[in-house]
């Protein structure tokens, strides 16, 4: 079964003092992959500047604006249409025995191939006193372990907006047990990596039809690599596997590789950013 989605992204930035020159890079364009296909995209901005499409360092699509005229606020809007296939969760079951799976992830070749997603980053580093926060059970499959970790993370953290920020480290998340989807994802990723499972951060949109946690901004979840199966998406903020409601934009080692908006602004004073995202679908 296929779903037709329409996504409307809006961002509004206001500046205390006029900006003389600025670059923005938006990484908000849904990627094309096995389960999703982008069929339409359109961008609009309030300033007099062209919108260029480019890529970031990891080959994800970006939309860039270079504004050379003074302005005090800027609106940026994007609209995407895409089709998304239903994801069959049974395809993730491995043919390997748990012992074979754990053997596979411990081979040097495997570790080298997945080095990027096995090495802790600042945002996905477990504090040393919490290094054994969650241990995988070698008697059950990696998928079952990850499903259990997904649930554990969901129950461990209380979803609360506004208490953490994009630079929050795991120490704070683990001790206060609250946060938003980024924090759920970072904790899930850190623990998977600590247990030698490659895991990466995913940025995208969530269709919130069924009252899922997330917000009216962009969503974050995680993907973990299972030998002989591949990358599987987990949404620890909602205790589900990523499914047709999850529209992927990019992935990376952590939030910093995926930040949806980056700007280089030549101005002084304060600024304010607002985003809104609307995801609708027809079946």
């Amino acid at each position: 079964m296929a779903f037709d989605y329409t996504i409307k992204y809006k961002s509004n930035n206001t500046y205390e003092n006029p900006v003389f020159e600025a670059y923005w890079q938006f990484m908000i364009i849904p990627e094309n992959n096995v389960s999703q296909k982008l069929v339409f995209s359109d961008f609009k901005t309030s300033v007099n500047a062209r919108i260029e499409k480019s890529i970031n360092g990891y080959n994800f699509q970006t939309a860039r604006i270079h504004c050379k005229q003074p302005f005090a606020d800027i609106q940026f809007e994007a609209e995407f249409k895409l089709t998304k296939e239903e994801i069959n969760p049974f395809q993730f079951t491995s043919k390997l025995e748990p012992s074979q799976e754990f053997e596979a992830i411990n081979s040097l070749n495997f570790k080298v191939e997945h080095e990027s997603y096995l090495t802790p980053t600042e945002l996905t580093k477990l504090p040393s006193k919490h290094i054994d926060l969650y241990k995988f059970d070698p008697s059950i499959s990696i998928l079952d372990n990850l499903v259990a970790l997904n649930k554990w993370t969901y129950l461990y953290i209380y979803f609360k907006a506004g208490v953490t920020h994009i630079g929050s480290l795991l120490n704070e998340i683990i001790e206060h047990r609250h946060g938003v989807c980024q924090d759920f994802s970072h904790l899930f990723i850190a623990i998977a990596r600590q247990n030698n499972i490659p895991a990466r951060y995913v940025s995208g949109y969530l269709h919130q039809g069924d009252g899922f946690f997330g917000d009216s901004q962009m969503h974050a979840w995680a993907e973990a690599y299972i030998p002989e199966v591949g990358w599987v998406g987990f949404d620890p903020a909602n205790d589900i596997l990523a499914d047709h409601n999850h529209i992927k934009v990019s992935h990376g080692k952590d939030y910093n590789d995926c930040s949806p908006i980056k700007g280089v602004i030549y101005s002084t004073g304060k600024n304010e950013t607002q985003h809104s995202v609307e995801v609708t679908y027809e079946q």
């Binding site: 670059y23 890079q25 480019s54 890529i55 360092g57 270079h66 040097l108 080298v112 090495t119 980056k262």
Partner: protein, 488 residues
């Protein structure tokens, strides 16, 4: 032991036993290579040298050949002290150095290609993955990117010393933004101006061809489809310690010197702002560290980079020299694997020796290092410019304990090497108005391009001006000498 030489200039020259003196052999006879120049220098009096020295200093200052020292409470412009007595390298000896430097540069290039592609050397268990993944200079954005001509380290600076056994040893390979080549050329000019006559008696290779070769190397890695490339040098600006060199190289190559704000990216092509409108730039010799080249991709707080530059590079629309990410191989821990790296990629034996190195990340080595701090040089793996180095036999008991604590806290960050005794050379010392022994090293410059390679026949001989000091970096109060490579 004290000994008198016939030349009054050398009256206070104390020849220390156990150090390799480049000019005098063990019987205190002048070595064959230096015989002629020694005789010529004898024609001058002490006061002549004092006057020549002042003139040379003034010439450097007037031309603005200066550098800046960081970590002083006040950053200030200093001239790089220039010594009037040249260092001479025989043709045969040079041949080995040249071959060895080229071999290392090529091996490092192959290593970088491998690290950013299949990582065979790691899968073969030769270089530990941990060493690479923990390196701040490992740029994962470079994975599977093929730089033009397959070249990463277009410019390499290899630091060598001559040990008391008379052999050369490599201290480190600099492949980020090695600097110093402008001093090589300026030193030659300065010596010619001061003592032109001595050049009549030696057949030496010239060094002024560096700029033309560098430009050819840059042009050889032009983006696909570009006929005659526009090249530029990008500098962090006038406050950078090597700004003189950036401007010197741009000037001698006849290309523009730009700062980040002079460039912009549009549709993934790079343009420079000129009075006649935007001009597309194809090859950039960047003297800005990786982290600062593009605030949209790397450090967002970089005010000296060009937003969008990395995407333009990824798309193959502009070439960067050196390639981003070379720093991962310019690491004192990687250095210790150089013999293995050379063997793995080239199937050859290293031509130049490595100094034996203890990795504090290895438990056995760590144990040895902690027990022998007084006999070792302990260095952080990722600092440049001679910062953070401790030399065992110069430390007090308390300092030794401090070093131990620091190393124990972060073993991966440190390596240790036996204290190498750098060779010494006659160096004019202002305070005594005579020549004295001072430690020296040598930085060579190697260029790699698309089917092109070049080693500058000469180099930067750095002098530790403080008596007994083993660190020769300019930032640590070193000077330099003109370096002659004999044609035969």
């Amino acid at each position: 032991m004290k000994s008198k030489f016939t030349n009054p200039l050398f009256s206070s020259y104390i020849k220390n036993e156990g150090l390799f003196d480049e000019i005098f052999d063990d019987n205190k006879k002048v070595r064959k290579t230096y015989k002629k120049i020694f005789e010529l220098y004898r024609d001058h009096s002490n006061s002549d040298y004092a006057a020549l020295n002042e003139k040379a200093k003034a010439a450097f200052f007037n031309q603005g050949i200066t550098f800046q020292v960081y970590r002083d409470s006040q950053t200030q412009e200093k001239i790089f002290p220039f010594d009037l007595f040249p260092r001479i390298i025989e043709a045969k000896e040079w041949k080995t150095i040249e071959k060895g430097a080229l071999q290392r540069s090529k091996a490092l290039n192959a290593f970088l290609w491998d690290l950013y592609h299949d990582k065979q050397i790691i899968k073969a268990g030769i270089v530990p993955m941990e060493l690479i993944s923990s390196s701040a200079n490992y740029l994962r954005q470079m994975q599977d990117l093929d730089p033009p001509g397959g070249i990463y380290n277009h410019i390499s600076g290899t630091d060598l010393i001559k040990h008391s056994d008379g052999n050369y040893y490599v201290l480190e390979d600099n492949i980020r933004c090695p600097s110093g080549v402008s001093y090589v050329i300026c030193n030659r000019n300065a010596l010619k101006r001061a003592l032109f006559g001595v050049f009549n008696h030696y057949q030496i290779h010239n060094v002024t061809n560096y700029a033309e070769n560098l430009l050819e190397i840059m042009e050889s890695v032009k983006p696909h489809g570009v006929d005659i490339p526009t090249c530029a040098v990008i500098t962090p600006g006038i406050y950078n310690s090597a700004y003189y060199e950036h401007s010197y190289l741009a000037k001698t190559m006849g290309i523009e010197l730009v700062e980040g704000r002079d460039l912009f990216v549009e549709n993934d092509f790079v343009y420079m702002k000129t009075i006649t409108g935007p001009k597309k730039v194809d090859v950039i010799y960047r003297r800005i560290d990786d982290g600062f080249i593009d605030p949209l991709e790397f450090r967002q707080d970089s005010a000296i980079g060009v937003p969008g530059l990395f995407a333009a590079y990824k798309k193959g629309n502009v070439s960067l020299v050196n390639a981003p990410g070379t720093g991962v191989a310019d690491d004192k821990a990687i250095y210790t694997y150089m013999p293995e790296i050379i063997k793995f990629y080239l199937g050859e034996k290293p031509i130049l020796n490595n100094v034996h190195t203890y990795h504090c990340s290895r438990p056995d080595d760590l144990k040895y290092v902690l027990e022998n701090v007084d006999k070792l040089v302990v260095k952080p793996v990722d600092e440049a410019g001679g910062y953070g180095i401790s030399i065992g036999n110069k430390l007090t008991k308390e300092e030794i304990e401090n070093v131990k604590t620091v190393v124990k806290e972060n073993p991966r960050k440190y390596i240790a090497q036996p204290i190498m005794s750098l060779s010494v050379h006659a160096t004019y010392i202002e305070d005594s108005n005579s020549f004295e022994q001072r430690h020296i090293d040598l930085r060579t410059f190697t260029l790699l391009g698309n089917n092109k390679e070049f080693v500058l026949k000469g180099g930067l001989t750095r002098v530790a001006l403080q008596k007994g000091n083993l660190i020769v970096n300019s930032s640590q109060g070193g000077g330099s000498k003109d370096t002659w490579v004999l044609k035969k």
